[in-house]
Amino acid sequence: MQNAKDSFYIALRNRLAALNPERTILLRGAIRPGILVEDAEAPFPQLPSDVFVVRWLGHGADIEIASTLVAEECEIVYGTCGCQTYGGLDRGRALSQMDGELLAILQPFSTPKLRFASQPPGAMLTQVFWDEPVFSPAVAQRDRLTRSAKVMVYSYQEEGE
């Protein structure tokens, strides 16, 4: 499933970079598109604002078919305090913008599966695909608005996986 998870993340990252190049994060000394995988970074005392954080949760597999179908539940968490120029009064608008961006980068609901063990990544034979997102209600914590969306990501296991 790791290739599928990597492919899913890279697809979302590339789509976000194309959709909104200004949404970035300075991470480990590099400016990157504003989306990261939580379990591939150092632990955060508090999740960064205005960035999509990809979190992997449940895992399942259907082995009674020609190619094993694996599924992993993905939670994408994001929050914002708005911008300083408006004293944070635009945090609702900023969250709405992130809602729209997330919905946009999740479409189309599939991407080619790549193997990232080598550089450049090698194309595999199948597509990673996922269901429509289910958004949670926004949660307000002082000046910060947070929301998450859950997506079930699917992939067929290929030879060597």
Partner: protein, 312 residues
Amino acid sequence: MTAMCFSTPAPVARRVRAYFSPVNRAAQQPVLFDPGPQGWFDLDNPPAPWLNLGFIQNFVRKASSKSSAIAAGIPAAPLEQVRESIGAQVSLQFLAWTKLSMALATASQHMNMIAPGAPSAAVRSDSTASTIVLSAGDAAGFSAGQIVAIDHDYSGQTGYVGSPINGAYLRQPLTDVDYLRRITFNTGLVAQVTGSTLRLAQALAGGAPESGVKVQAIAGFVDREGGSFYPEWSGLFVMEGVQGERIIFHYPRLQPMASAEESALPLAAKGQGRLERVILNAQFLALPVTDPLDNERIVCYRSFLPAPNALV
């Protein structure tokens, strides 16, 4: 070693897309789809004359063909099978209300409501499917946001009427000069009026207007319970698998067989709201054609285009 192929389980598809094309009733000529050269068509831009109806839901195919065995011997045992009858039905729900989806979801004549007091204006021959050219004086009578219908004045003809999409069958002549514009499928929303030109927001379903047609503003659409006319369409339904494969169902002749009927689909989960989406139910009876390949009578084709690198 790099794998060159993979074995695919049953295709996983999200939704079904629907495409329809009118059957030429007078010539009894359906539109045949050849999946060999056409199967990988751009799903957002189907090849002419197919009209894109977008995503549908609750697509159900039901075969009603019957076979029976010819028994022989004592005791009798099946010797051969024969096909007693062929038939099929298709049901689905349209997710949008448009002229086409309403008409397809009605086993009756579908009509346009002429706007009160709306005059008709002659369309010039240099018009296209999305640009309607009038005289400058006539164009001033139209405005952006209007819906218009474009067809000939009715002049007493009988039989199948409406071109190129037959919208009705007349047994006897009428006196209503606007009748063809009441039943035409050449309708569109005016996006802009510039000088003598009406620019339509979408192309006319029947393509560029024929010479001598007129344009007239309409207020909306209406269908009736009853009547004797059954429209007929060629249908194409495409399921796109997540690995890139395609399943294509082609029904050369489909006639709507159920009266106008709607379903309510709650927008939120149960108990969480009272808003409901009103969706159009459609049910079709498949009629037979003779396959030009071998002269067999059939009602539908199912084609499968495997995913790249998938074992077959």
